[in-house]
């Protein structure tokens, strides 16, 4: 059983952040042989997070969320982009975790925004945050602007990121659950991908 905790920082209901979190959760469930998922919706913890900043201890619901993260084999962390970075609420949750709690934990980072111009937030804000917390950030991060929810490109990135998280966090469900490594030019020169395969891929989009 692989324990996955999904931390989602959207504020509206329903939020695109939660939608992205759900898609990542479903893909991660599929990629894992057996998964147990806990959702941490930060909006519900907003008051207790502020109280924690002032008192130094968590209220009961926040304490349960922190314990879930402590016990997690993998974490999916999804934030909306506010003013060019993660939201303050999202940051506060990771601010109140005691040092060491995320050490070595695989984390899939994802973010939503109104425009694709924010896409580097994953690499400029989220990766440094989780590097500081000594988490292991999976190679593929998933950024979704409003437009991305209209197309199907997002699915491939979601599957790839979920597969990477599954590989780091637990036992994957099958041989094709984990993403295949990209072939290098060197490998193509040695053994080219047959043209029938290239044709098939191009028709799949």
């Amino acid at each position: 059983m692989t324990r996955v905790v999904v931390v989602s920082g959207g504020l509206s209901t329903p939020s695109s952040t939660r939608l992205l979190a759900d898609r990542l959760t479903d893909a991660t469930r599929e990629a894992l042989e057996e998964a147990e998922v806990v959702h941490v919706e930060l909006r519900d913890l907003a008051h207790q997070l502020t109280d924690h900043l002032l008192t130094g201890f968590p209220g009961p619901d926040l304490a349960a969320a922190i314990e879930a993260v402590r016990d997690a084999d993998g974490v999916i962390a999804v934030t909306p982009v506010f003013s060019a970075s993660y939201s303050g609420l999202f940051k506060t949750f990771f601010d109140v975790l005691e040092p060491g709690l995320l050490d070595g934990t695989p984390v899939l980072v994802a973010a939503t925004a109104g425009t694709a111009r924010h896409s580097l937030v994953l690499d400029h804000a989220l990766r440094p945050l989780f590097a500081y917390l000594r988490a292991v950030v999976v190679p593929t991060g998933v950024f979704a602007a409003t437009d991305d929810f209209a197309g199907s490109d997002l699915d491939a990135r979601v599957r790839r990121a979920a597969g990477e998280l599954a590989l780091l966090a637990g036992k994957v469900s099958g041989a094709d659950a984990a993403p295949a490594p990209r072939r290098t030019v060197e490998e193509e020169l040695g053994e080219p991908t047959p043209f029938e395969e290239l044709l098939r891929r191009s028709s799949e989009g």
């Binding site: 502020t50 109280d51 900043l53 002032l54 008192t55 130094g56 201890f57 209220g59």
Partner: protein, 392 residues
Amino acid sequence: MQIGIFTVGDVTTDPTTGRTPTEQERIKATVAIARKAEEIGLDVFATGEHHNPPFIASNPTATLAYIGALTERIILSTATTLITTTDPVLIAEDYAKIQHLTDGRVDLMMGRGNTGPVYPWFGKDIRQGINLAVENYALLRRLWSEDVVSWEGRFRTPLQGYTSTPRPLDGVAPFVWHGSIRSPEIAEQAAYYGDGFFHNHIFWPAGHTQQMVDLYRRRFEHYGHGPADTAIVGLGGQFFMRRNSQDAVAEFRPYFDNAPVYGHGPSLEDFTEATPLTVGSPQQVLERTLSFREYAGHYQRQLFLLDHAGLPLKTVLEQLDLLGEILPDMRRGFAEGRPAHVPDAPTHASLVAKAGGASDATVYAPADAATGHRAEDAEGAVGAEGGAEVRA
């Protein structure tokens, strides 16, 4: 069972009147509160140590010595003494001196302070907080237990043939508690030495206090000082009471809502449920206090924080009057079901008895070998020429 009060010495605006006391008013109020504590029959008065506004709690030794001169019976203590940033050579002198002045009515609680910036004010590095607490306290113990100390460590200059004066009263060092809210290392330190462990028990939920006290008790036994239930445990606590519990809630709420540390955060109701703060009738305070034993075991010292958050002196003295009224019931309650083998908190008298009686610990030195020398000439002068003669 010792019951008393502790103060942090905050200068806080009274949110109901907008008035802020002057430093002198607050300092004099602290003295008045300590005298009242003795008058109503409390056992301990302890003061914190802070070196920045809005506190008046710097120089706790002057405060305690002054209160010591105005009282006769109450034990004077600290909550806490900054073992991290205060030179242990100074602590050894200061508290041995207060021992002599008050005939042994003093003990100490070691702590690491509430504020990071205090470290550089005293030339120390906050990143070494725990290491400072460990090294400084080890030296302090030697300064009290050994007449002549040669020592070398990491955080201060070495000592060569150094004698701390005055020697502890009757040859017995003041009892030491170690206070920490959330550092297991400090509970471990207290257990290692067989000293007392005090948990602040104000800002955090009971479950957290229980974890720290359990750790200390378990390790106290591990280090061979006796069974876990004989370890020396102290707890903080805070209350506000009026005869009618609704009056207590209504009067205290503005102070709570604006209090330093937790003000503008959780509601009074949430905080009283999550932490040991009790706001209500004397009976409610009595029952809540006696319930602390359910998770801390039978313990030795209970200190209440009463004079904070801008409460005026008059109100604090009224709180003490009410505490005085329930004090006999509180003592009876604490005695109930207490096994005979659970010890009381050590006092000067009990420590002297344990040492087999009082002895004059004075170090009689034949001549002053240090004064008048230039610093350059002083090397080796104290130990080599002075040759302190020890009569125990």
